[in-house]
Symmetry: C2
DNA sequence: CGAATTCTTGACCGGATTCAATTCTCGTGG
DNA sequence: CCACGAGAATTGAATCCGGTCAAGAATTCG
């Protein structure tokens, strides 16, 4: 049996001992499957659980009273949701399965245990937190200061680089399980304009699209035109 | 001498022991003053320091190659910058003093020390982290799904509620040390449109503006019209 | 008092939204 | 195997919110 995505992710950061790996794997043995569309965290409801994504995609989002939705971030295998729930009891966002999802359900008290017993893992989780902040910061830049086409390219590049870290990259092809409505709700645009902007990226041959997949035809040019900064996601280097 | 803002903030969450208070105050005795406009964190540069804001306002921001700037968040007294720097060595954002600023400079190794020796404080910092995430998530909602007037109202409400926690609220009046250009860069809008939107909020009497201050004339109506959710910032309740 | 920054207002333009209709895709059941 | 229907993608047309350019008024501060 191969290592869990979280172990692979942290293992790419620093050398984990047998004991640490065992602990991390043991953390994830209480699993839960969620169908596409199923909410497993609901804004305003009690949240006293930490989730680790094992397989599939999840979204974090918030819905306004007029029905408009803003997707805040995507959670991929190895990502953790609700890492800091000890005090705050009510969720400030919702989370749902974008694809069939396999989660592990973790008692947050075990997270506290980590900082006392496994300093290396604790440092790794701290790194994950910093990374989440960087990703969310990039999302704010996208929403605030980029044009429609730039937003799309920027988001694709983020996801592509994130997959690179968990070693799930498929060449230039990127899995895109979300609908155009999901994309629109991520990038703060309308469905129609999302469609048109995608088309215009295709027209200038920067991307190719096939069922549920996008091909980044010219990563360098995409980085250039979208002001994407790969450093924000690069893994730790000595 | 009165307690530091950080102690007041965490003290509002949970009862701190003498020892814990002493430790937190001791953490902040290495101070640094920065003039308005002075960058103390620079994107792309090495960052191995944790800062705690003692007095004044700071901004976290990112600048694109075309010169456009996106302000990500405001740091107020008691807020911590660079809490999770142990691994990631390069800053993914810049930070600068919006007003004359008094910071304390903390060795991040002392932050690690906390999780081992002061579990209550560690829990408090974890709560701070969750709160920062909620604030940044709200920023994404503002940028992605709110109209210009809504964004302004939403931001004012955020700041007003944040001041409430550190006990620095001045009735309905809110200190606004930033220029309209700063506001524009926060809310992803142009300077001109920021000015016009402010005027339209004044015209319908939701706010009043005076030098460096805004008065929220009708908090309830502002919350209503801007879709602001105070729960995201409310402190921990039993 | 004078220079520089900040704020305000006008005019015009364009990117993005909205409404609406059509086409495409794909899972399901006859 | 194909017809059907629901969701998803695409395209057109009209509109509008917000951006850009430009100029002037008001503050602030040395």
């Amino acid at each position: 049996m191969s290592a869990s995505p979280l172990v692979r992710k942290l293992g790419a950061l620093c050398l984990l001992s047998e004991e640490e790996i065992e602990f991390l794997e043991g953390l994830q043995n209480n699993t839960l499957n969620a169908d596409r569309g199923r909410d497993f965290i609901v804004e305003g409801k009690d949240l006293r659980t930490t989730f680790i994504v094992i397989e599939g995609w999840a979204i974090r989002y918030s819905v306004l009273s007029n029905g408009r939705r803003q997707i805040l971030s995507y959670a991929l295998p190895g990502d953790i949701l609700g890492l800091h729930v000890n005090f705050r009891a009510t969720a400030t966002y919702s989370a749902s399965a974008l694809t069939p999802l396999k989660l592990s359900v973790v008692d947050p008290r075990r997270v506290i245990e980590i900082s006392q017993k496994f300093p290396i893992i604790a440092a790794g989780l701290s790194w994950c937190t910093a990374r989440e902040f960087a990703i969310l910061g990039d999302q704010a830049v996208r929403l605030g200061r980029l044009s429609a086409r730039q937003r799309l390219a920027h988001l694709f590049l983020e996801l592509w680089h994130r997959f690179a870290l968990i070693g799930d990259n498929n060449g230039d092809w990127l899995e895109i399980p979300m609908t155009q409505q999901d994309l629109a709700d991520t990038l703060g645009m309308s469905l129609v304009h999302t469609n048109r902007s995608l088309k215009s990226l295709r027209d200038i041959d920067l991307i190719s699209v096939e069922k549920d997949h996008v091909r980044l035809n010219n990563v360098k040019a995409l980085i250039e035109m979208s002001e994407f900064n790969p450093e924000h996601l690069s893994e730790f280097e000595i």
